[in-house]
C-alpha cells in the first residue's frame, strides 16, 4: 500500500494533516512551483491506508494505491 501526493498541485491547506487519524502526515520544507509547502508521510509503517486524507483533500491530489 502506498500513498501518493501529486505535489505539483498541492496548495498546502493542511486538511490532510489535520484529519489523519494517526497524525503521521506533515508539511515538508520544500516548495512546489506555485510556492506552497506540500505534505509527506512521516512514518510510512504506521499508515493503514484508510484514505481519510484523500477524502478531505480539496484538490484531489492524494491517491492511495493498493490496500
Amino acid at each position: 500500500m502506498e500513498v501518493v501526493f501529486n505535489e505539483k498541485r498541492c496548495k498546502g491547506c493542511g486538511l490532510c494533516i489535520e484529519f489523519c487519524p494517526r497524525k503521521i502526515i506533515a508539511l515538508g520544507t520544500k516548495m512546489n512551483d506555485a510556492g506552497y509547502h506540500y505534505p509527506f508521510i512521516k512514518q510510512k509503517e504506521k499508515c493503514n491506508g484508510c484514505a481519510i486524507c484523500a477524502m478531505m483533500c480539496p484538490d484531489v491530489i492524494i491517491e492511495v494505491k493498493g490496500a
Binding site: C13, G14, Y36, A51, D59, V60, I62
Partner: protein
C-alpha cells in the same frame, strides 16, 4: 472504510482555480464520485452558475452549460424536458441560487421539475470578494457589512431547505456539510439519494452543502472548518428535510 483511493473518472485531470482549503473541491469530487458509482457519466448534463463554481464545466468530464447569473434551474428545466432520460443537475452557490436566482429555484420546486440542485452555501459572495449574501449569518463581518450583519439593515439569514421542504413538488431536500470526514460521507449519501430521486422520476431534489470560504472569512482552512461546525450549523441545521421513498434502488 474504503480500500484505496483514486481520482474519479468523471473529473478531468487538471488543476483547480479554487483557493487553498476551499470546500468546492471536496463537493466537486463528491458529485463526480457519485456519478461514477451510478454509472451515469455518459448521460449527465451539468448546468453551471456564476460565482466560484463557474468553471464546473471545465472540471467535470461530461457536457455542461454556463447559464446567466441565477438562471441555472430554468436552463436545467429546459434540458430535462427535452432529454428526460438524462441526469440534469445544477451546481450553484448561495449568491447565485439564494439571491438573484431565488425565483428560478423556488418555481422549479413549485413545478416539481425533475432536476437536482447542488447548492453550496458559504454565507457570502466568494468570487467577487466577500460581499454579504442572503445567507450571511447575523453579526458576520463581510466587505459590505463591516460592522457585522444587522437586523435593521439586512434582515435575517435565508434558510433555503426549510422553505423548499414545504412544497409539494419537492421530492428530496437535504442539508449536509464537509467539515469532517463523517460529514463528507453523509453528504455523499445525500447527493446519491438526490440523483437517484431524479433518475426515478420523483421530482425536484436539492442538496445544500455548508462550505468554508477561508479566503473571504480571513481564516486558515482549519479555522474555517471549525467556523462552519460552530457558527453555521446552529443556524443551518443538518439533515434531511423531505424524503420521498424510492421503491427500487438506493
Amino acid at each position: 472504510m474504503p480500500k484505496g483511493y483514486s481520482r474519479p473518472q468523471t473529473l478531468i485531470d487538471k488543476p483547480w482555480h479554487f483557493c487553498p482549503g476551499c470546500n468546492h473541491g471536496i463537493i466537486h469530487r463528491l458529485c463526480a464520485e457519485v456519478i461514477d458509482e451510478m454509472g451515469l457519466q455518459n448521460q449527465t448534463i451539468g448546468v453551471g452558475s456564476v460565482g466560484c463554481g463557474v468553471f464546473s464545466y471545465e472540471y467535470f468530464n461530461f457536457d455542461g452549460i454556463g447559464p446567466s447569473h441565477g438562471r441555472a434551474p430554468a436552463v436545467a428545466t429546459g434540458v430535462k424536458r427535452v432529454l428526460p432520460d438524462r441526469l440534469v443537475f445544477t451546481y450553484q452557490g448561495d449568491g447565485d441560487l439564494a439571491a438573484i436566482g431565488t425565483t428560478e429555484m423556488v418555481h422549479s420546486a413549485v413545478r416539481g421539475e425533475n432536476i437536482t440542485i447542488i447548492f453550496v452555501n458559504n454565507t457570502l459572495y466568494g468570487m467577487t470578494g466577500g460581499q454579504m449574501a442572503p445567507t450571511t449569518l447575523m453579526g458576520q463581518v463581510t466587505t459590505t457589512t463591516p460592522g457585522g450583519r444587522s437586523r435593521n439593515q439586512a434582515g435575517y439569514p435565508f434558510r433555503v431547505c426549510e422553505m423548499l421542504a414545504t412544497m409539494e413538488g419537492a421530492a428530496y431536500i437535504a442539508r449536509g456539510a464537509v467539515y469532517n470526514p463523517a460529514q463528507v460521507v453523509k453528504t455523499k449519501k445525500a447527493i446519491k439519494k438526490a440523483f437517484a430521486t431524479q433518475m426515478a422520476g420523483l421530482g425536484f431534489s436539492l442538496v445544500e452543502v455548508l462550505s468554508a470560504c477561508p479566503t473571504n472569512w480571513g481564516m486558515n482552512p482549519i479555522q474555517a472548518l471549525k467556523f462552519v461546525e460552530e457558527n453555521m450549523v446552529p443556524v443551518f441545521p443538518l439533515g434531511e428535510f423531505k424524503v420521498t421513498p424510492i421503491e427500487a434502488g438506493v
